[in-house]
Amino acid sequence: MWRFIGIRLLQAIPVILVVITVTFFLVRMAPGGPFDSEKPVTREVKAALEAQYKLDLPLYQQYFSYLGDLAHGDLGPSFKYSGRSVNELIAAGFPVTAELGLYALLVALGIGCLAGIAAALRPNTPQDYIPMSAAMIGICMPSFLLGPLLVLVFGIYLDWLPVSGWGDIPGDKILPSLTLGSAYAAYIARLSRAGMLEVLNQDYIRTARAKGLPQWQVVLKHSLRGGMIPVVAFLGPAFAGLLAGSFVVETIFQIPGLGRFYVQAAFNRDYTMILGTTVFLSVLIVLFNLLSDILAAWMNPRLRAQYGK
């Protein structure tokens, strides 16, 4: 098991290195610099600014100096938020995004699994069609549409929940989590339906039924584990997607998360912030993919034994 994790982590190093390199040069190639603004500054001012952030050095020197800092875990100063380091900004934004992502994932798992299992138990009946149609809409409903809709209904017309914020007013975490989680709930519903259908057709389910077990026990004790494996395998990519895709929701609900920092950084050409966030997210994506693979393997005793060697 540890060997397997070790190999995967080793494999991740070149991936992340390439990501850093490509991103580094990509952001530099994009037109407009961090200090361009609507009221352009004089050439002298710009030169002074660039000198302050070492942007006056040759690009390759900047690159290696960045890599050197990175090796020490230093992501550099933010260009946009003067006086703040990228590490600090990520430390401020990430917990929020992670929490949002976690709740969204819980929403997605809760709704998705229930709908998927319900559909799988009675395939090709309304109990199947209705949640699956909803799932289809859920997958394709963009969050820039779903978020405002939920806000209008629950925040404004019904006046049940706050329309924005994060941790400021009780209940303000509900709508963002729902908005972000719904698309993934839909995917999970489809995955768990397919997974459960597959498992329910297995011989060992027949064995369980031949033992005289009632339906709910057959589902809970015998089908769930196998049926959920595809869902678990999807969790890694899903969580990565949630992290990367949370900026729309963060913007709609005024949430001070990493996604918003990231997009602002991209618009501001905050080079160090873009790079820092990209590196951070790609490490996270690698880790979560690994975690979900391990979890999926752990759920399958046979694979568990294989990796255990």
């Binding site: 809409i137 991209a266 990209t278 690698v286």
Partner: protein, 296 residues
Amino acid sequence: MTSQQTIVDISQAEQGTSLWHDAWLRLRRNRLAVLGLVVLVLFTAIALLTPWIAPYSYQAQNLELGASPPSAAHWLGTDIFGRDLLTQIMYGGRISLAVGFVATSVALLIGVTWGAIAGYVGGRTDAVMMRLVDILYALPFMIFIVLLSVVFGRNMLLLFLAIGAVEWLTMARIMRGQVQSLRQQEFVEAAISLGLSPATLIRRHLVPNALGPIIVYTTLTIPNVMLLEAFLSFLGLGIQPPQTSWGLLISYGAETMEEYPWLLIFPGLALAITLFSLNFLGDGLRDALDVRGAKD
């Protein structure tokens, strides 16, 4: 099965591969799938004929009229420029359908090929190919897009490519998983022992058998692509006003959903109907191509 010998018309037997032909025959029996197909064909036909059948010019503004709810003159109402919404949706459909189908085809082509090769060859090749996919997943998409739009300027072809370049990643992963499991099957071994080249083997034996999940994923990709197009257009890579698309109409509509709900509802409906049609057709196609399912 009867053992009675029947004379078979040889010319009929010569008609090459018949998987698609048979799938078509089976598809025709699936009422929902046919409905989906009819709707899609209808939408495509409308899109193609729009310049001749649109009730209004899609540019003509009537600023004084502004946004008006559905009426006899404007069946679906007008937008804030007083432009006929039905016309806008019809023209938007041209872009959205084109983007949806072409970009998805690009993604399909790259993703299926990439995934099939990685899954079939395996080993180091697979590792390198999939790491490349990982890298592309991790790159900051927005910067990438902005850069593309600047370096290459703005054109539709680029839009298709950009979207295809993003969407093929997941497609490749699915395909790879499918191929990996298919590769274990004996019929693949049989094909190898016949002396088939890897390319032929992938094309003839692996791809057709992996189509099910790919088709389902494709039907989900098309609407996503249509919405992604709106995002790219918003960033300046995609189409430019007064051209429009369903994704753009929906995102404009979402901004004013309280004041002018029809500006959201009707483009949303157009997309939703397309989405359901695609889904019915996709499920139908999957079943039709799954020759085993037809009888069991």
